[in-house]
Symmetry: C2
Subunit: 272 residues, 2 copies
């Protein structure tokens, strides 16, 4: 069986750990894969941890004990978060993005994988997800963002359906009201999607009145499930009173143009 040089082991270890954030790998996994002694691997892990920390690329954490191992935890500083959010805003400020009804065309941004990956990692640095079981979103536009958040946290994604389909078996349905339009709609979720007694974080792309997220929260109660947090990419400044009290918006979108005729969207100053 081949031996590996330290550089090779370190390169491979970084690749494996960072491909699967928050997944715990045992020391044995690496000693087997690299045909190396435990003491050698432990030294490698220290080096990887220091390199990640020094360059602001996230945390490498070791867990002691029989069920222990090593895992990569995405972590970004407030400065790094602000830089990413400013980049996203730069893309969204062009005035031809305003659609009839005052909505913002965001599809090219919120469906671009590498941008949503960065935004998902920001959400991972805003919430304590150590006891969370699922990331929940509602179809359709929030899915890429919610999936990338779920990836950063190593959690399964649950997608609440606006349009129930035959392929998901027995469903729970609830009515919810759009705070913006006053229209009553139905959302539904497969009975087997969530285990009762779970904890979830809700992630969505856009919040105006908060009716949709309120609907998801009501749905979670039907599943005997606790909502630990709500994150949205964009929240409108008005109405200030939304149907949901506690939520973390990454960007704030105000009606009306800025003085230089750009769309008025900017990072939430409270993001850490």
């Amino acid at each position: 069986m081949s031996k590996f040089k330290r550089n090779e082991r370190i390169a491979a270890m970084v690749k494996i750990l960072s491909d699967y954030p928050n997944k715990l790998f045992t020391l044995n996994y690496f000693t087997d894969r690299f045909n190396a002694a435990k003491s050698t691997m432990s030294e490698d892990i220290v080096m990887v941890r220091q390199a990640m920390a020094k360059l602001g690329l996230g945390k490498v954490e070791t867990v002691a004990g029989a069920a222990g191992g090593v895992k990569y935890v995405p972590f970004s500083t407030p400065d790094q978060n602000r830089e990413v959010l400013n980049e996203v805003c730069e893309k969204l400020i062009e005035k031809n993005r305003i659609l009839p009804g005052g909505f913002l065309y965001m599809m090219d941004v919120i469906f671009f994988p590498s941008i949503m990956q960065k935004v998902g990692e920001i959400f991972a640095s805003q919430f304590d997800y150590s006891k969370v079981d699922y990331i929940v979103t509602v179809e359709t536009r929030g899915i890429p963002l919610a999936l990338m958040t779920a990836k950063a946290m190593n959690l399964p994604l649950v997608i609440v359906r606006i349009n129930s389909e035959v392929m998901e078996g027995s469903m729970v349905s609830i009515s919810y009201i759009s705070a913006t339009t006053g229209v009553i709609q139905r959302m539904s979720l497969s009975r087997r999607a969530i285990k009762p007694g779970s904890r979830v974080i809700i992630i969505d792309d856009y919040m105006r009145g908060g009716g949709t997220v309120k609907g998801i929260i009501d749905m979670m109660h039907e599943f005997d499930t606790e909502v630990e947090g709500v994150g949205v990419l964009v929240a409108t400044k008005t109405p200030e009173n939304k149907m949901v009290d506690n939520y973390v918006p990454l960007l704030i979108f105000e009606e009306g143009m800025t003085e230089d005729n750009k769309i008025n969207i900017y990072p939430n100053p409270n993001i850490t």
Copy 2:
């Protein structure tokens, strides 16, 4: 400005490259970030490339010239692909997954980020996407898989809507017919989602009659867009004649149980 050790540079370079598959980083990006000479960085890149190759973790490619640089290209061997697909099948063979109508409950598998990431990398090793502009899917279940494929290829994702909404501006709509049910439905796509003259790959989770994918292909013609390939996670064995001729299924799903009373789903033997 701090200097970095070779181990630290290599660890950081692997993290940066593999976080953004198929994104080209200039040599200057790394010399600036690591405060190192070009010759040193070139040596580091060779080491990273060799380590990735030796451990079957993908390719590191250098592009020469003024617009050149280095990028990470996901690549998995047929053996690695088969291993991943066998793992997915293992999860899908339990008989309580059969829903009314003969459909397969797959939500927990196709909404789990790390599994879909692996499957997306398999699609990236099945198609030549060097001239492709977009990954296209249709809401809802195929989105996580399509997003992870788009991530592996560093391409934007386009989501065709079954239920058009107010927030996407001027839309193109077409009718399509479900080969299974004979029901006529409509799908729609925002006029600004795809630049005319583009090339796309279509990715979806499940194909029985092929009517939905046929609908997406028709939609792409409305956008003067060429379909370079179609990939689906699961295709049913019957009907053998589907409405789409050329498609790459990763798994085959046959009606009826296996001898040991499991669901009859297995990797497509033609996957390389």
